[in-house]
């Protein structure tokens, strides 16, 4: 790491257009309930889950994940009421200006554990449908650079198709989001083919965003850092493996795939692992026309949380193996491990052209902004 002294308000050069492909507006459950159908609206409101969807007796709308993300009260956000109160819409612009972001893609915060639901799955669909209506009306503002992704209730393919089509003419929604943690079956399964097919037709990039549910429930692991580090990483590697090896890029070659929130060093590890196995068992995945790593080089990856503490030579090798054209800056604001654009501009091995692409150029192109 650089020992150069910097102030905490240092920001990126204004010459860059900075696109943040992953931020989280903290909607409240009460916000969304107003847009849900009955009986779901009453069920939610009368369950006493309040604004955050959970209460002390461990009853909650979505499963909860392990540990305290805020590190026992040590994490604070100047421009967000997270996690204590639902956010106010004007927090988004204030935080964007503070961090130095021109365009931001919002992904629901409360939905991140949704796909660990294994029963009564209509509550997930209902929440996603309500979320789309709520953010369309109150949050998304293309004139201000605030865009959204349509959450896909992929456990119900028909509902997914309906929700995606419903947003087709909406300028605020510029892609889809598969909340990947806990997905059963894995997201390369043919069950989801029609969703990806429609994504291609709508020209929606598909963001795969894992979360704090499902794969982070490692029995016997004691601390948040253990389950969080493993959960996000293992989920991304699992879903990437499924998508690539089941041939989704061959079935739907125009579909842009973007993976969030595990840094970058896990990608080369998966490339070499899958190639090594594929060379030994090439007939098991007959849709592949090239090595798994070649497909992984066509996937896009959000930077956050970037492994800034890694040996720069190692990190440079990882960037080179993925390619600067495939990496997109992501903040994950206001979550506990968010990254500012300086995490990219500080990297000593990137050219100015690389930084421009990673901070915004790649996202502008992929999301057709």
């Amino acid at each position: 790491m650089s020992s150069e002294h910097r102030t905490n308000n240092s920001s990126v050069d204004s010459d860059y257009t900075v696109v943040d492909v992953d931020a989280h507006y903290l909607e409240s459950f009460e916000n969304i309930a107003e847009y849900m159908d009955e009986p779901w609206r009453t069920r939610l409101k009368e369950s006493g889950w309040g604004e955050i969807g959970a209460k002390q007796n461990a009853s909650s709308y979505f499963p909860t994940s392990t540990g305290d993300r805020q590190a026992y009260g040590r994490i604070d956000r100047e421009h967000s009421s997270y996690p204590d109160e639902p956010a106010e819409p004007d927090e988004i612009k204030a935080s964007m200006e503070s961090i130095g972001i021109d365009i931001q893609l919002q992904i629901s915060h409360l939905l991140l554990p949704a796909n660990a639901v294994r029963s009564d799955d209509q509550r997930v669909t209902q929440f996603m449908e309500g979320y789309v209506k709520y953010v369309r009306e109150h949050i998304l503002d293309p004139d201000e650079g605030i865009y959204g992704l349509v959450p896909v209730p992929f456990h119900d393919v028909e509902a997914s198709l309906d929700l995606l089509k419903e947003t087709e003419d909406d300028e605020g929604f510029i892609g889809a989001c598969m909340i990947a943690a806990g997905a059963r079956p894995a997201l390369g399964n043919r069950k989801y083919d029609r969703i990806y097919e429609l994504g291609e037709e709508l020209d929606y990039p598909f963001v795969f965003h894992t979360g704090g549910a499902g794969l982070d429930s490692y029995d016997g692991f004691q601390s948040f850092i253990e389950t969080h580090a493993l959960g996000f990483l293992a989920s991304n590697q699992a879903q990437l493996t499924s998508l690539v090896m089941e041939g989704i890029p061959e079935k739907f070659p125009e579909l842009d795939i973007i993976f969030m929130e595990s840094g970058v060093t896990y990608v080369p590890a998966l490339m070499t692992r899958l190639d090594e196995e594929y060379l030994k068992r090439p007939e098991e995945n007959p849709l592949l026309e090239k090595l798994p790593s070649d497909y992984l080089k066509e996937v896009y990856y959000g930077t956050q949380p970037l492994e800034k503490s890694a040996n720069p030579e190692y990190l440079e090798t990882c960037f080179n193996m993925i390619g600067a054209d495939q990496i997109m800056y992501a903040s994950d604001y206001p979550h506990w491990d968010y990254d500012r654009p300086t995490t990219v501009t500080d990297l000593p091995f990137l050219t100015e052209d690389d930084k421009q692409k990673i901070l915004g150029g790649n996202a502008l192109e992929v999301f057709d902004l």
Binding site: D193, R194, E197, K280, P282, E283, L287
Partner: protein, 123 residues
């Protein structure tokens, strides 16, 4: 400079038989499959395993038949392959090309039949 090396009489090969011989320090496998003869390096490009002693079989294929449908699996009788018994690296029996990538090419050798005997041409 190429060298013509006698292997053994055609009549001594049963279907699926293979003969391993060493020529100029190189281990080479001569394989008879379904009436045709093939000659390949017997040194797997993965970890030097005796690839020509491995199973010869029809390639397993799976065809995409449409959105949401399962793959249509079959054995491809037009593509015969050989798998190294050590770790499974699999090559096209005729071309020596690895099934996963054409960047990996197991050396192959020309086979000649002359007066009832099998020969290979080694450079």
């Amino acid at each position: 400079m190429s060298e013509k090396v006698e292997v053994k009489p055609v009549a001594e090969f049963e279907d699926g038989d293979r003969e391993i011989l060493t020529v100029n320090g190189k281990s080479i496998g001569v394989i008879q499959y379904d009436g045709n003869f093939y000659a390949l390096s017997n040194t797997c490009l993965h970890d030097c395993g005796p690839v020509c002693t491995g199973r010869v079989h029809e390639k397993m294929d799976g065809e995409y038949t449409g959105t949401g449908k399962p793959l249509d699996w079959s054995h491809n009788e037009d593509e015969i392959v050989i798998s190294c018994p050590w770790h499974g690296w699999t090559y096209d029996l005729e071309t020596g090309e690895h099934l996963a990538t054409d960047d990996i090419q197991l050396p192959t050798y020309e086979v000649e039949i002359e007066d009832g005997d099998v020969y290979i041409i080694v450079e």
